[in-house]
Symmetry: C2
Subunit: 313 residues, 2 copies
């Protein structure tokens, strides 16, 4: 492959957007080591497997292919600098970030959006890289918005939205999904999402007030939907928000947790809300680990997960 | 693993954002088959390898693990419906989309952001999925913005930005990178990016005029940077734009193609532009296939790609 073709291939690979991870372990002397990678993918739910590719020219190639455990830290929007640190040749990278050791002694970076401690499951030789397949032993998701990488550059969809949204007539709503349940509030005209008008506050402040009003722990996420209410001259912006791993679905005074697939049965105020709900139900089944309600997987696995919460309407 | 833990793991995996692909091949009868997947990752540049995971419960598991060739179609923002079609159990999915056969007879979806035709390289058993590793035989990137998937929902950063940006005092600029070169224009105060004021047009119309003015083929991409010029009371928004695979770097009257790593030497009008350039150079080396200028890979591989264009300043 000539140099031109190789650059073109690199650009074409870059057409698939990704998050950014820092992969960590300890070397033979017990010192923490790590590198930035966007070649991560989840693989299997049961057993819990994930993978990441490592360049054979990496100085730490042997350490990573022979380690008993490694960790994947999925970076949050605020961690651009962390990504840069672990992508450059810097003497003591770990002195520049806050970190701790996990249960399996792998270095976990503070403030990551999520982390996974893995036992090495398999190393697959693959061209100029090796694929590390890890079995997830411990994990945690913090719900904070993730840093994106696309066409050779970071992108930060939540921060961008925050910078672009302004004005007294903007209503922000929170679409909060957790463990297959979505939080809805009963309004005069039917069920809707918890929301507030931005007024002169920032979007983050406004969403924080929404969460505080519900007394739940959640983080704002990406813009999911935007529409104009021409009668009321309002712009509606829906943010997809997330809760940390293991957080309960608290019985909220002003809202109800509803199974995502039961959302379609709720009375709704208007067609904008109806179309948003239908879209969310459909998309929620798309990913690698959708619940597969009648999708391309054979047979019905509707009860793949048994409901374990009583808040379901 | 109990159902709660499994849901939590699924949510944690969802903290890594991805693009969306449709994986296609032909069954034993020569009929096109395909499924939606976000478990894609590029693996190796030389040889050119990529991977995608397939659920063992898939109706087409045997067809995909035994096929000689398969294709990866990376979906564009406009292809949400295509993603839904290939994620659901629908009788004749291919009658609902426009497609053609590639050189290796794999089905390629029209209007994808990029596609790769692959020879099967290896199938790796991995828990409830199998990992298909493909050797890229043919590929093309169209430069159009990609559809994103994050926390169980699509997101469309470019469309969102287009919906949120308005006002006469918004200046949009195009950061166009192609094969390691970026397009800059000489202005009175130093080098900058090609740009125009939005006025009452849409962002897409404005960027199209920027491209037309340069007489180049390019697509608008994600928001890369936002800042306020308080003196001029202008909001500056920089879009990361892309050219299709194989497009030349035409000698543009109003601009110059500059090697990304040479951008730092250009005289610049102000600190906002300086910081943008420095950031872009740094980030461009982060990905799996960065050029590794002094990063964590051992040794200097500065000449990994030999320059083949004469337009370099």
């Amino acid at each position: 492959m000539d140099a031109d073709k190789r650059r073109q291939l690199r650009d074409a690979f870059g057409a698939f957007m990704t998050g950014v991870t820092v992969v960590t372990t300890n070397d033979a002397q017990g010192q923490p080591i790590g590198f930035t990678a966007n070649s991560f993918s989840s693989v299997s739910l049961d057993p819990a497997l994930l993978l990441v590719s490592i360049d054979k020219r990496s100085a730490n190639f042997d350490n990573f292919t022979q380690c008993p455990h490694f960790a994947i830290n999925i970076l949050a929007e605020q961690q651009k600098e962390t990504s840069n640190i672990f992508a450059q040749k810097i003497a003591d990278r770990f002195s520049l970030v806050k970190w701790r050791k996990g249960e399996f002694s792998t270095p976990l970076l503070d403030d990551s959006s999520a982390w996974f401690e893995c036992a090495m499951h398999q190393v697959v030789d693959a061209g100029d890289h090796a694929i590390l397949i890890g079995k997830v032993e411990q994990f945690e998701s913090c719900g904070t918005p993730g840093l994106g990488y696309y066409r050779g550059a970071y992108f930060t969809p939540y921060q961008n939205a925050e910078s672009l949204i302004a004005g007294p007539n903007v209503v922000v709503s929170a679409l909060i999904e957790s463990a297959g349940q979505a939080l809805v509030v009963k309004k005069e005209s039917g069920y809707g999402l918890p929301s507030q008008t931005v007024n002169n506050r920032s979007v983050s402040e406004t969403l924080k007030q929404v969460f505080d009003g519900l007394n739940i722990e959640a983080s704002p996420g990406f813009v999911y939907s935007i529409w104009e209410d021409r009668q009321k001259k309002q712009q509606h912006i829906v943010f997809l928000c997330a809760q940390p791993t293991g957080s309960t679905l608290p019985a909220v005074q002003q809202g109800e947790w509803v199974d995502v697939h039961a959302l379609a049965q709720l009375p709704v105020p208007d067609s904008a809300w109806k179309s948003l709900v239908d879209r969310f139900i459909r998309e929620n089944a798309v990913g690698n680990y959708g619940l597969y309600y009648g999708d391309e997987v054979e047979g019905s696995v509707r009860h793949f997960f048994t409901p374990s919460h009583q808040e379901v309407v």
